[in-house]
């Protein structure tokens, strides 16, 4: 694959409206959720990692109403483009790949959906492309909670095949009453805190947020003098084809995705950004698959669970994983894992909890899974 690099990062999370606030929050490892809105429809309001402030507000442009997911995505993409040093004049042929599970679903749940245009909630891609003049290839992808990693790897496909020199990959999702109640009905929620590596974890905690990365061909970045955060060394996809909501217990298909990503990488990973959300049955499959892929390196490859401090941000989760991985490469540091009172005794991975640890190799593996058994993994490497 022709080299594809990441040259800009953006993030809107409960930790703040910038990549800087995200990284500081990851290092502090103290992010906690708050109760869901009063109209969540559930007797005991579950916890949610919510974004506050202007970056998540609805907006109206050219007579069209945009919801919270579009607002957060627009803010994250703007930060990523500025970080990459790209302005509107550079973007007429730049592409956009958006990963989202429900888009601007808050409009529908508030009875404010733009019915007059016949447009459903999936309008984030047009909101962002319209705001920044991204005129190249434009797709919105949903593979449930792995959509972010699919968006990043699809962006790389567009570059590798010459369809664009620059593609922004963005993941975004916002609080949804229907999603929260559905997850509650499935018994998948930890109602207090996301603690994915804790022995007493009870499930996931949802979160708002958007994250963005600017990808471009290495040659394009070199020509304009951009300094990459990372090289996208490889990625792999697979589908369990097993069950609508439960993972394939052997992990064979997730293992294929992980193996595919590692096979394209220049060497072993020095850290892991896991999908791990606190749902025991899923956590076990992922950890066992990755431990098997690492082999004897398993006890010296630190694992990181980002959802403990920003929640499960659904379609944004994989892009948050990529932003965190790029920052790990930039700082040569792996943040500590939050909210671990007693480490899950069944986890075969190395899990730092006392403080940041050094990155052992200049590569980070990011893995993602989603409802329907949609698996994806990728490896980011430090630029040479």
């Amino acid at each position: 694959m022709p080299p594809v690099v990441i040259t800009g990062l953006g993030a809107v999370s409960c930790l703040g409206d910038s990549v800087e606030s995200l990284w500081e929050g990851l290092l502090r490892a103290d992010g906690t959720p708050t109760p869901a809105p009063e109209d969540c429809g559930l007797d005991e309001r579950p916890s949610v990692y919510r974004v506050r402030g202007p970056a998540q507000e609805r907006s109206e442009r050219a007579g069209r109403l945009y919801g919270r997911a579009s607002g957060m995505a627009g803010h994250a993409v703007g930060e990523a483009l500025a970080d990459a040093g790209l302005g509107r004049d550079d973007l007429a042929d730049a592409g956009l790949a958006v990963g989202t599970t429900l888009g601007d679903i808050d409009l529908a749940e508030a009875g404010a959906a733009p019915a007059a245009t016949g447009t459903a909630s999936f309008q984030v891609a047009s909101a962002v492309a319209g705001a920044y003049g991204l005129g190249g290839p434009n797709q919105s992808l949903s593979t449930a909670c792995s959509a972010g990693v699919y968006a990043v790897s699809w962006a790389a496909e567009l570059i590798a095949t010459g369809q664009a020199d620059v593609v922004v990959a963005c993941g975004t999702d916002s609080y949804s009453r229907v999603a929260l109640a559905s997850l509650d009905r499935f018994g998948l929620l930890d109602r207090t805190l996301c603690r994915p590596f804790d022995a007493d974890r009870q499930g996931m905690v949802t979160g708002d947020g958007a994250a963005a990365v600017v990808l471009e061909s290495a040659e394009h970045a070199r020509r304009r003098g951009a300094t990459p955060y990372a090289v996208l060394e490889g990625y792999g996809w697979s589908c369990d084809g097993h069950h609508p909501t439960a993972p394939e217990p052997s992990g064979e298909q997730l293992g294929r995705a992980v193996a595919g990503a590692l096979a394209e990488a220049s060497g072993p990973p020095g850290a892991l950004v896991l999908h791990r959300a606190g749902i025991a049955v899923n956590d076990v499959v992922e950890s066992d698959v990755i431990a098997a892929a690492l082999g004897e390196r398993v006890d010296r490859t630190p694992a990181f669970g980002i959802k403990a401090v920003i929640g499960h941000t659904a379609g944004a989760a994989g892009v948050f994983g990529c932003v965190a991985a790029a920052l790990m490469l930039r700082h040569r540091t792996v943040p500590p894992n939050a909210h671990v009172s007693a480490l899950d005794p069944g986890c075969p991975l190395e899990v730092p909890v006392d403080g940041p640890v050094p990155l052992t190799e200049p590569r980070v593996l990011v893995s993602a899974t989603g409802f329907g058994g949609n698996n994806a993994a990728l490896v980011l490497g430090a630029p040479s």
Binding site: D39, G41, L42, D43, A62, G63, R64, A92, G95, T100, T101, G103, I105, A108, E109, A113, A115, G118, T119, A120, F122, Q123, A125, S126, G130, L134, G135, G136, P137, N138, Q139, S140, L141, S142, T143, A144, A147, E157, A160, Q163, R177, V178, A179, A181, S182, D184, R185, F186, W237, S238, C239, D240, G241, H242, P244, T245, F371, G372, G373, N374
Partner: protein, 369 residues
């Protein structure tokens, strides 16, 4: 690397098979955008435009009724009434009760395309790890989401049925298809309005060319949605790597592109963005003398159609209009696939361009056998 279309499945109101997509019967299935401008007469010495700008009757009228495969429901109007689709002939009597309508349509269309029966074991030689699914949809969960939200507000989560809950996730039609037909290369859903079906074809085309799969079901499905006049239905193309000389296929997918056309603050298309998109589309016709052409979009996209025609007029090849179901985009993301299927029904090269009101453009070229 040739990408062959080895199977086509169509399940939509008034559309029972490829024969319903073109010609007089297709009028009821939205072959033309109502109120379009019909520039016509473009091309560089070829046949130019045929049929645009005249007799624009728009949607409605009478559909082909039960004249197709005999596996359809009771719709005889082509307007997608609630009973137009009977799952039993496609999916059997059991196992689909808790699947969403969009999932049922998709399973039916995909099995038609693959020449399989729902629930059967995969055929001998089936390589699940090399078989992928791409599905375009925009409206498939809106109605269910509204219903679930109402239940939650009135009864709390205890009123929700766990059996049907997975349907709240928009990727679930594709995931159910992947489970049903043992597709383990990938299962990806694309959701941009109108163009998502063609986006699915573009994703599949790329994946096949890049060797990430050997076979891909490129599909689209929609459900009716609150506040929208989009019709339910599904379409599926089975795409495979390589030539199919031993087993003649309906045709092949030869290329495509995707663009976003920006608007100015007043809501008008930016001329430079419109021109760039049209030029990109016109580049897909290189090497052809005449290209059968089908445009798909709501009224508000007529000027994009005109820009594409203008670009072809300047550089060729000549466009030959091909009326096909889906021109008015009332089948949502399925519209573009219906038009591709219509072009594949006849020999020669063809182009479908789909455009949404908010600026998404997808174009796919095919060659019918």
């Amino acid at each position: 690397m040739n990408i062959s279309v080895t199977g086509i499945g169509l399940v939509a109101p008034g559309v029972r098979g490829p024969a319903d997509l073109t010609g007089p019967a297709a009028t009821a299935a939205g072959t033309q955008r109502p109120g379009g401008t019909g520039t016509g007469g473009t091309g560089t010495g070829g046949t130019g435009s045929e049929g645009r700008g005249k007799d624009r009757t728009g949607p409605g009228g009478t559909g082909p009724g039960g004249t197709g495969s005999g596996r359809t429901g009771t719709d005889t109007t082509g307007t997608g009434g609630p009973d137009w689709f009977d799952p039993v002939p496609y999916l059997g009597r059991r196992g689909w009760k808790y699947l969403t309508p969009a999932t049922r349509y998709l399973l039916a269309a995909a099995n038609e395309a693959a020449g399989t029966r729902h629930g059967d074991k995969p055929p001998h030689g089936h390589d699940a790890a090399r078989f992928g699914v791409c599905t375009g949809t925009h409206h498939s969960i809106a109605a269910m989401h509204a219903r679930l939200d109402r239940t939650i507000r009135e009864e709390g989560s205890s009123g929700l049925s766990p059996a049907e809950l997975p349907g709240f996730s928009v990727n679930m039609p594709a995931s159910q298809l992947a489970i049903s037909m043992q597709c383990r290369a990938f299962s990806v859903t694309l959701t941009n309005p109108v163009v998502a079906g063609l986006d699915a074809v573009l994703f599949a085309l790329n994946a096949l060319r890049r060797g990430r799969a050997d076979r891909v079901l490129a599909t689209a499905t929609e459900d009716t949605a609150p506040g929208s006049d989009t019709l339910g239905g599904a379409a599926a193309l089975l795409l495979e790597r390589g030539d199919r000389d031993a087993d003649p296929a309906p045709g092949e997918v030869t290329g495509g592109t995707s663009r976003f056309i920006t608007r100015d603050p007043a809501g008008a298309w930016r001329p430079e963005s419109l021109r760039a998109a049209a030029e990109k589309v016109a580049g897909l016709g290189a090497g052809e003398q005449v290209l059968r052409y089908a445009f798909c979009g709501p009224d508000s996209t007529a000027s994009v159609d005109e820009a594409v025609r203008e670009a072809f007029s300047a550089r060729g090849p000549a466009l030959k209009d091909t009326a096909s179901a889906g021109a008015d985009a009332r089948f949502g993301a399925v519209s573009g696939l219906l038009q591709l299927a219509g072009l594949l029904n006849d020999p020669g090269p063809g182009l479908v361009v789909a455009v949404s009101d908010d600026g998404h453009l997808a174009a796919v070229t095919v060659r019918g056998s």
